[in-house]
């Protein structure tokens, strides 16, 4: 319940400024997040950390539909639920994103 109280909605970027096909790294009070504007127009946000044990970031991932491929170890990750696809395992945090007018917000 703690969570609910501390959740805030934060404006991250102008929708127009988000390129299609490449992630945009954002730090929000030190928390590393990466935004993807995917080809159907939606914006997805996940934590900017490769789920691979060796770490790395996701901003430079290759984007395909609702999936990204981790740039460091090529894990396939769903932007919907953050789950790494078989045969690999793991998960990254996802964030709730809203686009209002031209502004992109996430709840954090």
């Amino acid at each position: 319940m703690m969570m609910q109280e501390t959740m805030v909605r934060v404006k991250l970027a102008d929708y127009d400024s988000l390129p299609v096909g490449a992630g945009q790294a954002v730090t929000v009070n030190g928390e590393n997040i990466v935004l993807f504007r995917i080809s159907n127009g939606e914006v997805k946000a996940v934590e900017n950390r490769s789920p691979h044990r060796k770490g790395g970031t996701l901003a430079d991932a290759l984007v395909s539909g609702k999936f990204i491929y981790c740039p460091v170890y090529d894990l396939k990750i769903s932007l919907e639920d953050g789950k790494v696809q078989a045969p690999d395992t793991g998960e990254v945090k996802t964030y709730h994103v809203e686009v209002i007018e031209n502004e992109v917000y996430i709840t954090i």
């Binding site: 934060v10 096909g21 954002v26 490769s50 770490g55 290759l62 395909s64 740039p71 045969p87």
Partner: protein, 807 residues
């Protein structure tokens, strides 16, 4: 209330037992595991590969911390159990922790046997058993030069190979006159010795070590015949000793190992033993296949599911040293009751021996060609009657009717083992392929564990894939290596692009019916490359379909930082450039400045936001250290300074690099130019290499100094620099047009055949056409760093990190 299961030992056999148990009964037990190593469960077998530099420790973790957590397993690492209290059903750890059990598994494995000779407690004497040993060897190799490995068996030779790779001189000391005498007969053992000597190992056979000399740290060895050698590191690989002390102290019956029955039960109720610490029917096993079988039986037993008893295993072994393909199983010697079939082809370095007893295969030794090992091993374990077979049909898989591998797979029964290590049958693999639509060997491993230990079964898994998927496998996964988004092979895709005049990645995927609409990290870079190769005039490269390094024009490092390597044509630089590099390194606080293997200076550990500014400050062209393109041209100093050089190696190197830089190629390309046959630039292991001879240049192609070493083949000898450049252009273009994406020149050349490539390049007309297309292609490239500096769009899309602060 769940029953409490405690396991002592967090190794391969134990954890496999738990995995099997979780499959059968996910919620049956509250599980606690003690492991005295500080790591989660790892693949001990792969330590050899870690030492040999092919894998890192992270790569060999099999069950990470997360796995224990998500399965609700309480894991205590770095904590040894020191007492089992059978009366109270409790174990006690060295940290005083007391844990109750209803069922207790002892899976303590074994330790390296350390020869009890004087001096064996000195610093620098290690066993080869765990991550710690491995790390010690790697560390010592940085400081010391001379290693001695005691033991010429499987483990000793793998350790020796690793130490060679780490740059040490290695003596292998063996008590017997032959290496691996338990697995190989004299002939095979001799062949192995010769191969390993070629790789740089030195053998001292029939030597018994009697003393390890040195003050605090080892300095040498003394043998029973009085002779001595120097050594700063001694690896003992003379055998293993089951860890049974704890069991013994607790009053459990122990012989050599902890004695268990066919259900892995010790003589104490509710206490089991599994793995290398257990002795079953008087045998203590030291390979994983039998241990995994034991684990399966024990898991069923714990889950209360009726199971067949464990009745022992015949093991097959192979050596994990590249260049030494060998397989051995069963009896290898001859006696009155045996007959053997032997084939010895000295020319190709192949030796096969099949020992036959009572019309059944009793033993196998294969050296140099092990592709029949699975089939023969199966005949051995199934005790197949071979009286009707001729010696040729026993030895050869593909008979006159072209049965071949697939036919062999077809003949396998569903319950036949494919992966001995992991106990996976053909039926299980076929099922997994069908239900989960698997197309690659790795995916099969992900679903079934097959192939994930020693790897010997991978070729058979690949055959099963081919057999199950039919044409689909052949065209999509196996031959072409293109991904799961399409069933088309590389050649088919290229043909379609040409015939339909396709011009961009999306279009290719749309028109050719890709299953994943926007493709994946395998097909997109490949299509992008093929498009650029075909539409050589004015192709607009798709940056977002590039792999990360090429997309960013810098190499990504494991922590997400990047490296910057400026061009240094032919490895030649100036004082001014050096100064500039030094200034930039200082200004951006670059954590590592290193000379690369390609004669350049690399700046490592750069944040991606800093890349464009650094490039601008440097004001040098990109060295493409990240690209599937011409990387570097390594040169020696040549005639200008060297007293041996007959040619201007630096001049040719610089010209080559200037002409072909930035060119997209199927994989990275490296060149070398040496001005005389002393070959200081190592031109014989480059994709293309030049060696100066009196009055001209020898040209070598298809070499590789990477994972799969390959010496280059002599293509031609030319008189002038111009000829050298012309042939290089034609060769590169022919490679660009016929190789699959990510296929390097070495395997490409083997696939195409040297004679064929020679013929193509000898044809003047052909050379001209190839060069024309190449020259037009070369026109389309820009300097990527410069582009990023001057284009804000690029800077923002790829290199910025936004910062948002909230109160």
């Amino acid at each position: 209330m769940k029953k409490k299961l405690v396991m002592i030992g967090n190794g391969m056999a134990g954890v496999r037992t738990i995995e099997e148990l979780l499959k059968l009964q996910p919620d049956g037990y509250e599980i606690t595991i003690f492991g005295d190593e500080p790591h989660p469960n790892y693949n001990r077998i792969m330590l050899s590969t870690v030492l040999q530099g092919d894998k890192s420790i992270e790569d060999i973790i099999m069950n990470d911390w997360e796995w224990y957590k998500s399965n609700g397993i309480q894991l205590y690492t770095g904590e040894a159990v020191v007492e089992i209290d059978k009366q109270k059903n409790q174990v006690i750890s060295d940290q005083g922790r007391v844990v109750d059990y209803d069922e207790l598994i002892i899976a303590t494995g074994s330790s390296s046997f350390i020869l009890p000779v004087p001096g064996s407690d000195k610093k620098g004497v290690v066993g080869f058993r765990d991550i710690h040993d491995c790390e010690m060897m790697i560390k010592d190799s940085e400081q010391y030069k001379k290693a001695a490995v005691i033991g010429g068996g499987l483990l000793g030779l793998e350790a020796a190979r690793g130490l060679l790779n780490l740059g040490m001189e290695v003596d292998v000391i063996h008590l017997m006159p032959h290496l691996m005498e338990r697995q190989l007969d004299e002939t095979a053992s001799g062949m192995l010795r010769k191969e390993l000597e070629n790789q740089g190992m030195n053998f001292l056979l029939e030597k018994q070590t009697v003393e390890i000399s040195g003050e605090e740290r080892v300095t040498g060895l003394r043998f029973s015949d009085g002779s001595e050698i120097e050594a700063d590191l001694v690896v003992m690989a003379v055998g293993i000793r089951p860890n049974v002390q704890l069991a013994k102290d607790s009053g459990i019956y122990v012989n050599r190992g902890i004695v268990v029955n066919d259900y892995l039960e010790t003589d104490v109720p509710n206490i089991y033993a599994v793995g290398e610490c257990a002795e079953h029917r008087e045998i203590v096993y030291g390979l994983v296949a039998p241990l995994y079988e034991q684990g399966k039986v024990l898991a069923a037993n714990l889950a209360g599911i009726p199971t067949n008893p464990y009745e022992g295993t015949i093991c097959g072994t192979q050596l994990k040293v590249s260049g030494c393909d060998l397989f051995s199983a069963g009896e290898i010697g001859d006696d009155e009751g045996t007959k053997s079939i032997k084939v010895h082809n000295e020319f190709d370095g192949i030796y096969k021996k099949i020992v036959i007893r009572d019309n059944r295969i009793a033993g196998i030794v294969l050296y140099g060609d092990t592709k029949d090992s699975n089939r023969l091993f199966r005949m051995l374990t199934k005790r197949e009657d071979i009286s009707g077979m001729t010696s040729v049909s026993i030895l050869e898989t593909s008979g006159c009717c072209g049965g071949g591998e697939a036919g062999d797979v077809a003949a396998m029964a569903d319950d036949e083992l494919v992966c001995g290590c992991n106990g996976v049958t053909k039926g299980t693999i076929v099922d997994a392929i069908r239900t989960n639509e698997l197309t690659t060997v790795d995916e099969v491993g992900g679903c079934t564990n097959a192939g994930r230990s020693c790897g010997r079964c991978k070729s058979l898994i690949s055959d099963i894939l081919a057999y199950t998927l039919g044409d689909q496998y052949d065209t999509s996964a196996k031959k072409a290596g293109i991904c799961g988004c399409t069933t088309l092979s590389k050649d088919e895709i290229v043909a379609e692009i040409r015939s339909k005049g396709l011009t961009n990645v999306r279009e290719v995927m749309n028109v050719l019916g890709w299953s994943q609409e926007e493709g994946c990290s395998k097909c997109r870079p490949a299509i992008n490359y093929y498009l650029g190769m075909i539409n050589f005039e004015g192709y607009k490269d798709e940056r977002d379909s590039r792999l990360v390094n090429e997309k960013m024009h810098a190499n990504i490092q494991k922590d997400g930082t990047y490296s910057v390597v400026p061009r240094m044509y032919g490895g030649v630089t100036t004082a001014a450039d050096l100064k500039k590099i030094a200034e930039v390194a200082e200004k951006y606080d670059v954590p590592l400045v290193k000379l690369t293997g390609g004669q350049r200076i690399g700046l490592f550990g750069v944040n991606k936001e800093d890349l464009p500014a650094m490039w601008e400050d440097l004001g040098m062209p990109s060295g493409y250290a990240y690209g599937k393109t011409l990387r570097t041209v390594k040169t020696c100093v040549g005639e200008k300074f060297c007293r041996f050089g007959t040619q201007d190696s630096m001049g040719l190197g610089i010209e080559l690099e200037k002409k072909f830089e930035r060119l997209d190629t199927p994989h990275k390309v490296k060149m070398g130019v040496s001005a005389c046959p002393r070959n200081c630039a190592e031109s014989g292991i480059k994709d293309i290499g030049f060696v100066g001879v009196d009055g001209g240049w020898e040209i070598y192609i298809g070499g590789n100094g990477g994972t799969d070493l390959r010496a280059a083949d002599l293509l031609d000898t030319v008189k002038t620099k111009e000829e050298a450049l012309e042939i290089t252009g034609a060769y590169l273009q022919y490679y660009r047009e016929t190789a699959a994406y990510l296929e390097r020149t070495a395997p490409w050349l083997e696939r195409m055949g040297l004679e064929h490539v020679k013929e193509v390049l000898a044809d003047e007309n052909m050379r001209k056409q190839l060069n024309d297309r190449l020259d037009k292609t070369l026109e389309r490239y820009n300097e990527p760093w410069q582009e990023a500096i001057s284009d804000n769009g690029i800077k923002e899309k790829y290199y910025q990190v936004r910062k948002v602060t909230v109160e």
